[in-house]
Structures are given as C-alpha cells and as structure tokens.
C-alpha cells in the first residue's frame, strides 16, 4: 500500500507537468466557467427585463404577469454541464488515464519500477488512484464553480433535495469520466504502439457517445450534444426495437445522460430510461470491470519489453 502511494504521487506529479493533460483539463475548466457565466448572464438578463416590464405595467396601472425565473428548475440551468462532461470531460479523462501509464512506458522507466519490491497490482493500484484523484479534482473544480454560481444567482436558491441531487450529478459525472480514464490507461498498458494506445480508446469514446445512442434510439442522433432533443420516443420498427433491447443495457453514455437529465430536471415529463439496470448501477459496473481489466493488464505486461514500438 505504501509503495502504491508513491506510485500515485509520482503519477500525479508527472500529470501536472504534462502539457497535453494540462491543456485539455484547462479547456474543460474554461468551458465550465463559460457555462457558469452564461447561466448567470442569461438569468440576470431575464430578471432585468422582467423588472422593466413590471415598471412599464405599473406605469400603465396594470398588474405584471408572474416572474418566469423562479418557475424555472434551477438545476436545469446546468444541462450544458452534462454535455461538457460527456464530450470534453470524457476526452480529458481518457487523455489523463493514457498519459498516467504511457509516460512510464515511453520513458522506459517501467523496467526499473518492475525490478523494485512492488507487485504489479501495487503499481496498478497506484496508477488507478492517481487517475481517480486527478479526475475527481477536475470535477471538483467544476462542482465548486456551480456551487458559487448558485450562491450568487438571483432568485435561485436550492432546496436540500436539489443540493443532494447536484451532489449525485457530480458523483455520476465523476464515475463517467473515471471510466474513460481507466479505458485510456488500459489501452496504454496493452498496446504495443503509443499511437494506437490513444487511437483505440478515442474510437471507443466516439462509438459510445455517438454511434450506440443512434442504434438504441433512446436518444436521437444529436442527443449527446443537444439535451433539448434528448430522450425522445424511440422510432417504431423491428430494427430499432431489436437494437434498443440489446444495446440499451450496455449503452454507457445514455445511462449517464439519462441520469443527468433526471437529476438536473431537464428530462421530458414522463421520461423513463429503457433498461432493466439503473443508470447509476451501469456506471458502477463499468468502472468495476475497467478497474479489474487494468489490474489484470498490468499483471500480464512484459516488463522487459515495456517500451512502445513507435
């Protein structure tokens, strides 16, 4: 366990010095900040306009219609966050997970690590913890930004239940991004080529995010990008009925989107995710499988030929 802690610390330090990781993590944070600013700005504008309307009505001796801002579900303002997490957040996690392992292989240090009195599962544990901590830190900054936004937004005070659901949303987002981090790490361990170690998980990310949701028809093709169109009824037809029943339980991206939509109040009325497994359970199962895969992959890695071919 102590040795794993040292592996974890070194991996985190290396990530902090990796420009690619910093760039993509920075991009995610910038998008979160922009999202928070847009939410604040849009709400403040509506509020200002409403106050002017009230003044105008009052000048005419009329009663103004009710303020629409308090009727808006406050958590729904964060719908863009679900999109950013599914796109740039997942990609950031994937790159971070890949770099956490590929750095050692690329530099050829792995042979020195493997000749130390530490097991391969100890090395794997250190790397996995580093990935989890780095991604949780990244999502933590996003969560803090949202909390501050809600505290300064006029007319948007969250109830205890809403704060709880916001926390659940970030736990789900953390699990979602970590799974891509683990996917990046897995291919960084098992690939002989550094280029392939990144290309394969990126292809999987594209498939999970865009292709499978089209086949299951739980969400329409644009749903991963546009939450407004999400969770539309599935098109009728034998093909979609079949693909929906087969692919929905393993449609990881949709499980996350469904969970996010439910927690953040942007799901259409009466929406129900078409799977016998709950979305949160799907996220947990995927993470559990990927953690096992990373540990096994480290165990099977040939430490004497750990450097990449390219």
């Amino acid at each position: 366990m102590f040795a794993s802690r040292y592996i974890m610390t070194a991996a985190l330090r290396a990530n902090l010095r990796d420009q690619t990781v910093l760039l993509i993590a920075g991009l995610f944070i910038v998008l979160v900040l922009i999202s928070a600013y847009l939410g604040w700005s849009a709400t403040a504008t509506v509020q200002d306009v409403y106050l002017k309307v009230v003044e105008a009505y009052a000048a005419k001796g009329q009663i103004a219609p009710p303020n629409p801002v308090p009727d808006t579900p406050p958590l729904g303002l964060l719908r863009n966050m679900a999109t950013y997490v599914a796109l740039i957040g997942a990609l950031a996690g994937l790159v971070l997970g890949n770099k956490t392992v590929s750095g050692d292989r690329k530099s050829g240090v792995y042979a020195l690590l493997a000749s130390r009195p530490i097991t391969s599962s100890g090395i794997a544990l250190g790397k996995i913890l580093a990935i989890i901590i780095a991604i949780t830190g990244l999502l933590g900054v996003a969560a803090l930004t949202n909390v501050i936004t809600f505290m300064i937004l006029p007319n948007f005070s969250l109830s205890a239940d809403e704060w709880f659901r916001l926390a659940q949303f970030y736990i789900a987002s953390d699990l979602y991004v970590i799974s891509f981090g683990l996917l990046g790490a897995f291919f960084a361990i098992t690939s002989r080529s550094e280029a392939k170690s990144l290309m394969i998980p990126v292809t999987i990310w594209l498939t999970v995010t865009f292709i499978i949701p089209q086949l299951t028809a739980n969400v329409l093709p644009m749903a991963a990008l546009n939450p407004l169109k999400a969770m539309a009824p599935a098109p009728s037809g034998a093909f979609f009925v079949f693909t929906q029943s087969v692919l929905t339980p393993i449609s990881f991206a949709e499980a996350y989107r469904a969970l996010a939509a439910t927690l953040l109040d942007f799901a259409p009325p009466g929406f129900k995710f078409q799977s016998f497994i709950s979305p949160m359970l799907t996220l947990m199962i995927v993470n559990g499988l990927l953690i096992s895969a990373v540990v096994v992959a480290f165990g099977k890695m040939d430490a004497s030929r750990s450097a990449y071919d390219d």
């Binding site: 070194a10 020195l112 000749s115 004497s304």
Partner: protein, 245 residues
C-alpha cells in the same frame, strides 16, 4: 543465507520457435564480479531479465540470494539492483527526485541521507538538482547506477553498462564497479561484449553462445589455461565457436 549469490538450473527461454536461452546452469558466489560475455543476441539480456524478475523463464529455475525469482520474486527484488543497457529515468524530474521516488519504492530508510551518501560515493553530487533530460550518457549512467545501489543490494546487475560511453566514461565506470565490489561488498553480474573491460574488472567470466553457456571459469584460470600470449579477445572469439567443457 544461501552460499550462492546467483544460481540458475536449466533455465530456458523461448519466443515461439526461437530459443533465446537454452538450459543455462550457472553458479555465482558472493563477492564475485562476473562478466557475462557473448555476441549480440546470445541471450545475455534475457538472462538478466530473468534474474531481475522482469521475465519468467519458460523452463528451469533461478535463485538470487536463495530466493526463487519466480515464486518469491518480491524477496528476490529486495536483494538486487539493476542498471539496464539504456538507463531510462523520468526526464522531467531532477536526479534527486528520481532517486527519491525509486528509493521510496525500495523501502530505503533515512532516504535523504542515503541519497547524499550515494551521490558522494559516485562522485556526482553536482547532478542532484539538475533535470535528467539534460544529462549526457555518462551522467545518466551514473544516476542509473545510483538508483540501483540506493538500497544497498547484495547483487548488482549491469546490462552492457559501458555501451555508448567515451573512454573517460568507461574508465570511471570501471573504477566504480571495483569500488562497489570492494567497499559495499556487492556481487556484480555484468553483461558485456567488451573484452578489455572484463579483463580489468571481473573475477570470473562466462561465455554465452546462441543461448548456451560454452564456458565459465575464474578469469585467472582462463588466462592460465589459454597461455599468456593468447589475448582475451582471441580467447573470446575462439570460445564462441567451440564448446568447452
């Protein structure tokens, strides 16, 4: 404690049809500086990879300080230091940061003091706070050696340590090997194809040819057996073309 620092019994390693190592049996006593000679591809690095627990042999058994390198690999690793042919370290870290990390993994106590002593021993304290990415081959080799001896292993494995070094670097390395053997009582297993280095530093030699050990003896016996006028280089070339009992 085992009487032998290194022992192998019929170890073989195959990659598909290619036999990299063929039933190697080797006994090396504590305190020896063993030079393992052989052409490129003879199986020297495969042997070191097995003895440093990086690779599992397809057949046979091997022990370092009495610990089985497969079934008791963690204890075997505690006894060894390893310097690969090309020393790879974290380029973005300083020498000290690299040593600290690798020393922590080896469970070195009083780490800072040990790092200082090791850098002093290897006469490279000036490298401590420089980034490894800026090092020359010789400087990198020294820090590679420092990381391998931080935990004061009983057995030190060097894989082609003089590869790519200039004459000055080679002399420094030779002096260091002698010093480590004499002062820290380390048994040293050195892969090389540089005959001159073997003659100047080793106490015994083994010659490997196409995965088979074709000769093993003390350096003195080898020199006596083949006569004073025979150069070690001629001996090496002749040993590689014949089986010597």
């Amino acid at each position: 404690m085992s009487e032998l620092a290194i022992q192998t019994k019929d170890i073989s390693m195959s990659y598909g049809d290619h036999v990299a190592l063929d039933q190697l049996t080797l006994n090396i006593e504590y305190g020896e500086v063993f030079g393992f000679l052989g052409h490129n591809g003879a199986g020297k690095t495969t042997t070191v990879n097995i003895l440093t627990t990086l690779l599992k042999p397809t057949h046979g058994k091997a022990w370092v300080c009495g610990f089985d390198v497969v079934s008791d690999s963690l204890n075997a690793r505690r006894q060894i230091g390893y310097v690969p042919e090309n020393v790879h370290l974290y380029e973005a870290m300083t020498a000290q940061e690299n040593l600290r990390f690798l020393g922590q993994l080896s469970g070195v106590e009083d780490l800072q003091k040990t790092i200082d002593e090791t850098l002093e021993l290897l006469d490279c304290k000036d490298l401590a706070n420089r980034r490894v990415g800026t090092f020359s081959k010789g400087q990198r080799q020294r820090i590679g050696l420092a990381q391998a001896i931080l935990h004061r292993p009983k057995v030190l494995f060097l894989d082609e340590p003089a590869s790519g070094l200039d004459p000055m670097g080679m002399k420094m390395l030779r002096d260091l090997i002698v010093k480590l053997n004499a002062e820290l009582k380390m048994t040293i297993f050195m892969n090389t194809h540089l005959i001159g280095e073997v003659a100047k530093t080793c106490t015994s030699i083994g010659v490997l040819n196409q995965g088979k050990l074709v000769h093993k003896d003390t350096l003195k016996n080898v020199m006596d057996r083949f006569g004073d006028d025979e150069t070690l280089e001629r001996l090496y070339l002749s040993l590689n073309t014949q089986k010597v009992a």
